[in-house]
Symmetry: C2
Subunit: 169 residues, 2 copies
């Protein structure tokens, strides 16, 4: 269970906790929309957040979540994984509301993202250049930090130190 | 990244792997639908699967996901958490498509679920009897096992050893 309660307004401590979770993320839970009927679907993906930037992922066009994002960019990403000890629900996590933006192989941005990703995930060299792979940038519209029992806070992209989504929500 | 590929038809090995993930789950990633616009939202919850039964969670009516589920029962639950070592994306996980069914305090089922939950999560005694808490049963309509790189399989509730959702998808 997640203890619900009064949301605490973001302060420097909360902002720092959320930014630490984002910067330290190596994987996360991605929720996308499936259709007919409209319903959520959650999977695990590798994800990295460049300093000051929105989180990105290297995705295969063959995977179910990629197909869903291509049809509807609305998605949600949770980062902050419990360690092996203690109560997993006491471990802080950050849920983001996002819009997925594809950065395909022919985009001028692609090489820089590829370089950043391969530096962090060297074994991605095995597949990063396959034709069906592209990057997705998760443009963040809102954040929600659950810092463990009794602490929750709604955060803006600015609170997270990243640029907001320019598109209408 | 999640390696996409040909889905392997469920066999006994795959069914056993999926059932082990479900039976061993203590927490998971829950995706629900938020509205206006319709979009997914993913959070972490404590979850337990009684033997042969659909997974359940003890939820507070004050939490965001509970409010979302009360408005729209379509949800998705992922279980199977990576250990502290190795490639997290190589760790198996099970994504479920579900419909949330509330079991409120006045339901005849409530006492048995409460007993099961408190046996597994003794410290839930601190809040299980608060008026705003209820159980949610996640009626499973479909399962998707990602067994790590190169292995994926679509599973039915029967493959998971649990009763299917009786409601139309």
């Amino acid at each position: 269970m997640e203890k619900a309660g009064i949301l605490r307004p973001p302060d420097d401590e909360i902002r720092a906790a959320a930014r630490t979770l984002l910067a330290g993320a190596r994987f996360g839970a991605l929720a996308v929309l499936l259709q007919a009927p409209t319903r959520p679907f959650v999977t695990r993906i590798a994800v990295l957040a460049p300093p000051g930037g929105a989180p990105i992922a290297l995705v295969s066009g063959l995977s179910r979540h990629t197909g869903a994002l291509a049809k509807n960019p609305a998605c949600s990403l949770m980062v902050g994984e419990p360690g092996p000890k203690g109560d997993p629900l006491a471990h802080p996590r950050l849920s983001l509301e996002c819009r997925a933006e594809f950065i395909r192989r022919d985009s001028p941005e692609f090489p820089a993202l590829r370089g950043f990703w391969l530096e962090q995930v060297p074994k991605a060299r095995l597949y990063a250049d396959f034709a069906d792979f592209s990057f997705v940038r998760f443009r963040v519209t809102a954040g929600f930090l659950n810092g463990g029992f009794g602490l929750a806070s709604a955060l803006s992209p600015a609170d997270l130190g990243i640029e907001p989504d320019a598109a209408p929500a």
